[in-house]
């Protein structure tokens, strides 16, 4: 073997090592680390938005509505479900579970919130929806036609789901829209 070949081989080996290392780093960064950081939780019942909208003809406001005092009813209470589901209406497993485990023993469904803010944040839906006329989908996922409740990824360190809006997003938008960024506008 000549010296030139040796140099070429080590060059190739270097590239191969680089590619392997790079792929490994991506694997760790994109797959292993998120798995380690986030735990996956599933909703107690796989709520089907599509079937309620299309077959039952319900509108969003039937469950997600403003109360008279301006506060927002995020998720409906069990009573709202029980209005229709005192008996199973279809044949799905989830509905049977709803009736037997929650409606009959009158136990509230422990929904996991995707976007509940921490305890010291005062978030006003009225200010954003009624006044700033923002769409729900500006912050929340679009549930139209969704047949499955997606799993909730919860950050193991902070305990918050990954969809919870971060403070810098709030601040950026407030600054752009010329809305006050004083602490007591959002914090309590």
């Amino acid at each position: 073997m000549t010296g030139e070949n040796k140099q070429q081989n080590s060059g190739l080996l270097g590239w191969a090592l680089f590619v392997v290392g790079f792929a490994g780093a991506l694997f760790v960064g994109w797959i292993v680390f998120p798995q380690l950081l986030y735990s996956t939780k599933y909703q107690p019942i796989n709520y089907n938005h599509a079937i309620h909208q299309e077959e039952a003809g319900m509108s969003c406001e039937d469950c997600h509505f403003f109360r008279e005092d301006g506060t927002y009813a995020g998720k409906p209470k069990l009573a709202a479900c029980a209005e229709c589901h005192s008996e199973p209406q279809g044949e799905t497993e989830d509905e049977a579970k709803l009736v037997s485990e929650y409606v009959e023993p009158e136990k509230e469904i422990p929904w996991i919130s995707y976007s509940r803010q921490p305890d010291n944040v005062f978030f006003s839906h009225a200010a954003h929806v009624k006044m700033a006329e923002m769409d729900c989908t500006d912050c929340h996922r679009d549930v139209e036609g969704q047949t499955k409740a997606p799993p909730v990824k919860i950050n193991r360190l902070t305990g918050y789901p990954n969809e919870v809006m971060k403070m810098y997003v709030c601040e950026d938008c407030h600054a752009q829209e010329n809305v006050s960024n004083a602490c007591d506008v959002c914090h309590k």
Binding site: D69, T71, A126, K130, C183, K188
Partner: protein, 249 residues
């Protein structure tokens, strides 16, 4: 110029010392409303937390010239320009004045517990949490959900019940209004006062009751000469109380 930049809104309070009977209802209402922690043994007043302290005043004379009075002291929400003393010294911006409303806020989770603001406050209106708060069993159910509880190692103070402003704004927004009506936002102490000695409202609105009372010849501020420009204004027709309130060395 006042420190409050918007000029339109400047929430303030007028307390009539001559009407105050010292019944402490305001203090109790405050403690209850704002989830203020307490301890089994509250004898050490240097360590206890009272967002709204009721001071006992007397003129030091004996009968028949003896006079006494009670003076409730919430956070005075100083309007000093450019900063109230407490926000000026905060190294982490945990306390600041909302320039739209004039309210001096304090965000406990941002606070590092250095207590500079406690030293800076001329009115002893700020308190330090020496222990984690504890509520005996059924009392936890009575906490106000709109007020976050504080942890050990942070400072806290009266916020003029800012959560009530947030709720009032929520209601107004839902009805399509941007401006609040007079009386929609009132702190718990003012609401509770049975003697109607406390009045709350917008000091910048010359038609409001607080603004009119604040211009009364009976009006005075605590330690006026310090230039802190408190937005809590006291009323009294008694000369000795005026003198006592300006008792700067």
């Amino acid at each position: 110029m006042s420190g409050n930049k918007s000029g339109k809104l400047s929430y303030g309070m007028v307390i009539d010392v001559d009407k105050c009977t010292g019944c402490m209802t305001c203090a109790v209402a405050c403690q209850q409303e704002n989830n203020v922690p307490f301890r089994e043994d509250e004898t050490n007043k240097v360590r206890s937390i009272t967002w709204l302290e009721v001071f006992y005043l007397d003129n030091g004379k004996s009968y028949p010239d003896h006079r006494k009075a009670y003076l409730p002291r919430p956070c005075l929400q100083c309007d000093a320009d450019p900063y109230p003393p407490c926000t000026f010294v905060c190294p982490v911006n945990a306390t600041q004045r909302d320039e739209e409303t004039g309210l001096v806020s304090h965000i406990p989770v941002r606070c590092i517990g250095c207590r500079y603001c406690i030293s800076a406050c001329s009115y002893h209106a700020r308190y330090f949490n020496w222990w984690d708060p504890k509520w005996p069993k059924p009392m936890e159910e009575m906490l106000t959900p709109e007020v976050s509880t504080r942890m050990r190692g942070v400072v806290e103070k009266c916020t003029f019940c800012v959560h009530r402003l947030q709720l009032a704004k929520d209601k107004a927004f839902a009805e399509g209004r941007r401006e609040l009506d007079d009386g929609e936002y009132v702190p718990a102490c003012v609401e509770a006062c049975p003697a109607k000695a406390m009045v709350f409202g917008n000091l910048s609105d010359s038609h409001s009751e607080v603004a009119k009372l604040a211009k009364s010849p009976k009006a005075f501020r605590l330690l006026e000469r310090l230039g802190t420009k408190p937005k809590v204004i006291y009323l009294s027709g008694q000369e000795w109380i005026h003198k006592l309130a300006d008792n700067v060395i």
